[in-house]
């Protein structure tokens, strides 16, 4: 599955704790300092893909009287997220090295 920036932010949001749809929207906006503002259609499109790939799962929210659905990262999702972070770390290290080499 392609991990775009919005998907990465959604996964990071769920890595901390299970969240329902609106909480994910708020958290992704906060994490990206207002740069990424997901629409509801985009959010649920991404959640549906992540559910299909079993990176996340649905749970009933405990502290909600409305019986809202929350989403939580699965073990496979966490593993894939860690792989993605490792890939990004490698890329940023490489980028830093190459930029430094060019400057000298």
């Amino acid at each position: 599955m392609e991990v775009s920036e919005p998907v990465l932010l959604i996964l990071l949001s769920l890595a901390e704790q299970p969240r329902h749809g609106y909480a994910i929207l708020q958290d992704t906006e906060q994490m990206s300092e207002g740069r990424v503002r997901l629409s509801t259609g985009t959010l649920y499109g991404a959640l549906a893909r992540l559910l299909d790939e079993r990176w996340i799962e649905r749970i009933k929210e405990n502290d909600s009287s409305r019986g809202r659905q929350a989403y939580r990262l699965t073990a496979a999702g966490r593993r894939n997220l860690q792989m993605e972070i490792a890939r990004m770390k490698h890329l940023t290290r490489l980028a830093a090295l190459r930029v430094a080499r060019k400057e000298t």
């Binding site: 929207l25 629409s39 509801t40 259609g41 985009t42 649920y44 499109g45 549906a48 299909d52």
Partner: protein
């Protein structure tokens, strides 16, 4: 505005709407309440943003329903024989059509070669008689009429949500599958 969002949600495939529709409406309501506190301009921008998202989302979900593909790398790793309840355009059809096209072109070329090798075997064809021309026209008209009637019939079934694909998706929405995961 919520009625407008609800109308936009009707553009999504039925199975998707069954699974996420209510939840999406809850989120849209919360977004609207939050933006109302920020002022009319924020509400307007948010409305346009959500409308765009819903329209694009509906188009994307219909595309996924038709192709059965999420365009993802993971899908290809799940195994070639993974079965899905959604309708998928059979990819083998494209290959088969290409083979048929190649065979037809090969046959035409072969016929030309045979015709060139024995020039006097096939006498020149004279002008088409008016009666023959009328038969061709009648056949063409019947074909066009049949295609048109078929398209109208399918359109009526689609509007009434009675196509086989829609009935299957209503009988067996992926909600059940995802809940079991």
């Amino acid at each position: 505005m919520l009625a407008f969002y609800r109308a936009l949600l009707r553009l999504y495939p039925a199975a998707y709407r069954c699974e996420y529709g209510d939840e999406m409406m809850d989120v849209l309501m919360e977004v609207k309440t939050e933006n109302r506190k920020k002022g009319a301009l924020a509400l307007l921008f948010s409305g346009a943003h959500e409308t765009g998202g819903l329209l694009f989302g509906a188009a994307r979900e219909h595309f996924y329903t038709i192709t059965g593909s999420h365009g993802s790398r993971m899908s290809s790793l799940r195994g070639r024989f993974a079965m899905k309840s959604e309708f998928r355009f059979p990819k083998a059809t494209v290959g088969l059509m290409m083979v048929i096209l190649a065979a037809v072109m090969l046959t035409i070329e072969k016929a030309r070669a045979i015709s060139a090798s024995i020039p006097h075997a096939n006498p020149a064809v004279g002008p088409i008689h008016p009666t023959q021309s009328m038969i061709v026209q009648a056949l063409l008209a019947t074909l066009i009429w049949a295609i048109g009637a078929g398209a109208i019939g399918w359109g009526i079934l689609y509007v009434l949500r009675r196509t086989g694909v829609q009935q299957l998706s209503e009988m067996n929405p992926s909600a059940g599958q995802r809940a079991n995961k």
